[in-house]
Amino acid sequence: MTQPTINPPFWLLAELTYRCPLHCVFCYNPVNYDSIKSELTTAEWIRVMQEARALGAAQMGFSGGEPLLRDDLEALVAHARELGFYTNLITSGVGLNEKRIAALKTAGLDHIQLSFQDSTQEMNDFLSSTKTFELKKKVAGLIKQYDYPMVLNVVLHRHNIVHVDKIMDMALDLGAEYLELANTQYYGWAMQNRAQLLPTREQIVAAEETVKTYREKVGKRCKILFVVPDYFEDRPKACMNGWGSIFLDIAPDGAALPCHNARQLPGLNIPNVKDHSIRDIWYDSQAFNVFRGDDWMQEPCRSCSEKEKDFGGCRCQAFLLLGDAAATDPVCAKSPQHHVVTDIIKQASVAPETTQRQEHPLVFRTDKNSRLISESVGATPTIRS
């Protein structure tokens, strides 16, 4: 047994609220978000920031839901900046008018990451179930005007990956300096909609080729990141850079999580910042220690030469796909259950669009759907393989 060394947290992610004006089908928020009320107060957030900063955290993300729905966002950013955090706002842009961006600039906000659902109004608005495309373009203009680097994030899936070229054109038109083409990760709402969203291998290969061509053409003007969906890899992602290694996520209600989706894992005793200090949570809580180091690992991870590299992959994915959070992430070709993933990919390539639509209509992230799903499965996401 290797006793893991516990390094201080590096990333503090403040999920200020689960409320959101958008209804994205690929949202990673928990499907039962509607049952999670009682958001932390401004004072509680400030204490969280102070304690995490004292432990050594240097990066701070303000996220959600839509963080702009909190009217204390500017005050929280100012506090974070004063404490020495590098402050990142992760937003849909809805609610970011000139008054607020000016106030955020004054508060010392370092960086804004703006999400787009697609390059066209039709698809953007359809996938987020809103009319937000024109508004987002306006916000992109404000971001430039206030001298922020323009960092765009677009979540890819089978409906928009086919015109990744148009998405890159849009990003260049908007003057983006960074474009993150992030393939959907299948958790939360995205998991509900996986049959509808998972691209085919051919789509991924074609998109990668297109991205390569653009990168050569664009050079240093815009850095384009393409995050391959892990289902299509044969080694798992080093999720969170290892459990309880650098990442500390505080959910709207104060639940302290080692990753965004940890709430759904069985057997996890999730601490709340209302009851515990960040130091106790990070160093001593059961939830943050359970998958630290390698003592928890099963074969083939336990004796694997790559276990220090990928830490056995993602615990939530192992649970969602296999029902066992301590299993090897089945994305790994060494996993005896790897066929679970390859079967899912196979289904994506053979099932005709129309049949899939009828069998699994897209479930938009709405309060009503959240309640329905929570009631039907007892607040546990459905496990489909």
């Binding site: 201080p8 590096f10 990333w11 432990l55 050594g56 240097a58 990066q59 993300g61 020495g84 590098y86 990142n88 370092d110 960086h111 990451q113 001298d147 680097p149 960092v151 300096e177 960074y178 240093k220």
Partner: protein, 92 residues
């Protein structure tokens, strides 16, 4: 990446606006913070980057560093560091 290496260094280097240089007590080091990441710097790298203020020329910067460290002939290591910083987009 030869095309980047051949690009001349900026005359008066300044920190790229994406990056912030600060002292981190937990790391006991200067670091460069940027969106969602951090680079830990050694002392000489930090001293050089501190002087990338968009006002000093490279020649002034080298003279400054030589004075601060009480050493001569630091041109090569400073230029090496600036080259790395430029290729990493830390300076512009």
């Amino acid at each position: 990446m030869t095309e980047i290496t051949d690009t001349p260094l900026p005359e008066r280097p300044s920190l790229n606006k994406m990056f912030r240089l600060q002292w981190e007590p937990a790391q006991k080091a200067h670091v460069l913070l940027y969106p969602e990441g951090m680079v830990k710097l050694n002392q000489s790298a930090a001293e050089i980057l501190k002087r990338c203020d968009g006002e000093r020329t490279i020649a002034q910067l080298i003279a400054d560093i030589e004075q601060a460290f009480g050493e001569k002939d630091l041109r090569d290591p400073v230029m090496g560091m600036l080259r790395t910083a430029f290729e990493q987009d830390w300076i512009q």
